[in-house]
């Protein structure tokens, strides 16, 4: 049997995700990829591997897993209760699953999407440059009980367990918004009201986008101006026919005719994706100049995360290899997959 993780039990919405497939907007395929991209980067940083390695995204609840050989893994994203054979595991940390042991991951304690990353990444088929399931486009499938997920070779088998301090992005909060090409279709009053309203994450939401509920009259674009469908991307805030904001997520459609009041800054989008139903949310407008001053490209942000990884401190008496314990972590360069679908 090749190196793999067997799924003994799975929540209803479990998929393989990576950073998605950019570059296909013109043909109608949105980027897709993990709902919380930071969690993918954190998992890769903990395991010391490239950021494009595929992980398992678990919406709302986890599952039960078994490995065919010792497998280093990391738990990131929405915190969930995790145990190996009754032993509690720290979240935002890496651990090892030995053959014969069972890893159980419970429902989310807060937030929406938890992630199980494995050393070497899940080696499922690469379709159009990515392993990410895009169920709206009918790429990939849900992962379920009985599935065996192949894993690439561990890039650093001797690497010790690591942990990472993560800011709580799992209970809603305030997200920053910049005006866009259609913000001018909304009245000054409605734009001001958007920033003053307390929203809650509606139960209606998925990887395409989430709706936010509120008290008050609907938000409406001025007049009944027809908007010729334009490109839409994750982070855009569409005002649907009902006049409620709908923030687009990775599996959104690629074109849309609903007016958009603005766009959530990419670095704040994980807060939107992770908000569980009922979580509070506020929008705060920034000028484009302010937003540009804050802009950091994703790879730079991801590298900064990798630099913060530290050893998971264990009882020194259990650490036979204390002297060789790796105190400075690094992330290997290169790609988790090349065009042939190889893992290194």
């Amino acid at each position: 049997m090749t190196r793999a993780i067997k799924v003994l039990r799975a929540g209803p919405q479990m998929t393989v995700q990576d950073l998605g497939r950019p570059g296909f907007l013109s043909v109608g395929l949105s980027r897709g990829g993990a709902a919380d991209r930071l969690a993918i980067a954190e998992g890769a940083a903990l395991l010391g591997q490239p950021f494009d390695c595929a992980a398992l995204e678990m919406a709302g609840s986890g599952g039960e897993f078994e490995g065919t050989e010792p497998i280093r893994f990391a738990l990131t994203g929405a915190p969930m209760r995790a145990r190996i054979d009754g032993r509690d595991l720290m979240w935002n940390a890496s651990h090892t699953l030995e053959p014969g042991e069972r890893l159980g991951i419970g429902p989310a304690l807060s937030g929406s999407y938890g992630y199980l990353s494995v050393a070497g990444g899940f080696d499922t088929p690469v379709i159009m440059g990515s392993r990410a399931a895009h169920l709206m486009a009918r790429i990939g499938t849900r992962i379920g009980q009985g599935d065996a997920l192949p894993i690439g070779p561990d890039p650093d088998p001797a690497r010790g367990a690591k942990t990472l301090d993560v800011e709580d992005r799992f209970k809603g909060g305030t997200v920053r918004v910049v005006p866009g090409a259609q913000t001018g279709l909304f009245s000054v009053e409605d734009r001001a009201r958007l920033a003053e309203t307390d929203f809650t994450r509606s139960p209606r939401g998925n990887r395409q986008g989430v709706r936010f509920d509120f008290d008050g009259p609907p938000f409406g674009a001025d007049g009944l101006r027809m908007v010729l469908s334009e490109m839409i991307v994750p982070g855009d805030i569409q005002m649907t026919g009902e006049g409620a904001p709908f923030v687009l997520l990775p599996e959104c459609q690629t074109t849309g005719g609903y007016p958009r009041i603005g766009s959530v800054l990419p670095q704040d989008l994980p807060i939107v994706a992770q908000a569980a139903p009922g979580a509070p949310l506020r929008f705060s407008f920034l000028s484009l100049d302010e937003a540009r001053a804050l802009y950091e490209d994703e790879t730079t942000s991801f590298r900064a995360i990798a630099a913060q990884v530290r050893p998971l401190v264990r009882d020194p008496r259990e650490m036979a290899d204390l002297l060789s314990f790796e105190l400075i972590s690094g992330v290997t360069a290169g790609q988790c997959h090349d065009e042939e679908g190889d893992t290194r």
Partner: protein
């Protein structure tokens, strides 16, 4: 907002929209396709992605590498060099001939659509099969084309209520047809059915149609359609030739 076209507006912190038209027009669509190709050919530093919709282009850039003002200035320079509304269509275009069955269970809204267009059912099928329609844009779902334009009589709005259509359905509104890539709810009038798959993720050419291609439907009998669906599950009997 400016009303003269083309105009340039920021979209998000790392996007710029170049809008050639705010309503569907042949020239605006042609300009959109040509401008996208011009941006790609110019290979500009800091430009990450350039995508065309029906009448606008979205340019995504890396603000760390190139400031917004420079992107706008560069795009403006490109716009000044060429009259994109007079541009040629993209090269390597294909003419697709796609078998379809119209009306009945295969197109339950055909009679309604003909009524709205003020023509007979026979004339409707003639209109749907005699015109070579251009792929104006792909969007909404992977590989799914907006095809246009039909004769002016077909300029009726979308249905008030949503209906469900199967993959391969042909649906009409606002002088356009959509050929559905997936089973989908829609407000467009379902007039016919093909067995053509717009998105084939496992195929080398996963998206068969490209903006600028032309499509002509060929009316066939239901029995022939069912046979094609069996014998050619990806293409549904479609053929293509390169346009000169």
């Amino acid at each position: 907002m400016p009303t003269d076209f083309p105009h340039i507006v920021a979209q998000g912190v790392n996007g710029v929209v170049v809008r050639f038209s705010d309503r569907l027009s042949e020239a605006g669509n042609r300009a959109t396709l040509a401008f996208r190709d011009a941006v790609e050919a110019a290979d500009l530093p800091g430009i990450e992605e350039c995508d065309s919709a029906l009448g606008s282009v979205l340019v995504r850039f890396d603000p760390v590498l190139v400031p917004y003002d420079d992107v706008v200035q560069t795009l403006r320079g490109l716009l000044q060099q060429t009259d994109f509304y007079a541009a040629q269509l993209p090269p390597d275009r294909r003419l697709w001939r796609i078998p379809a069955v119209f009306g009945g269970v295969y197109g339950p809204n055909l009679d309604d659509a003909a009524d709205r267009a003020g023509i007979t059912r026979k004339q409707a099928i003639h209109d749907l099969t005699s015109s070579r329609l251009r792929v104006l844009a792909l969007g909404f779902a992977p590989g799914q084309p907006y095809l246009g334009e039909l004769p002016e009589t077909w300029d009726f709005p979308r249905l008030k209520e949503l209906i469900d259509v199967p993959e391969g359905a042909i649906a009409a509104a606002i002088r356009q047809l959509v050929l559905f890539a997936n089973d989908s709810p829609t407000g467009w009038a379902h007039v016919g059915q093909t067995a053509f798959r717009c998105f084939r993720p496992e195929d080398i050419r996963s998206i068969p149609l490209a903006p600028g291609d032309e499509v002509q439907f060929k009316a066939i009998a239901p029995e022939d359609f069912e046979e094609l669906r069996e014998s050619d599950p990806l293409g549904g009997g479609a053929t293509f030739e390169m346009l000169p």
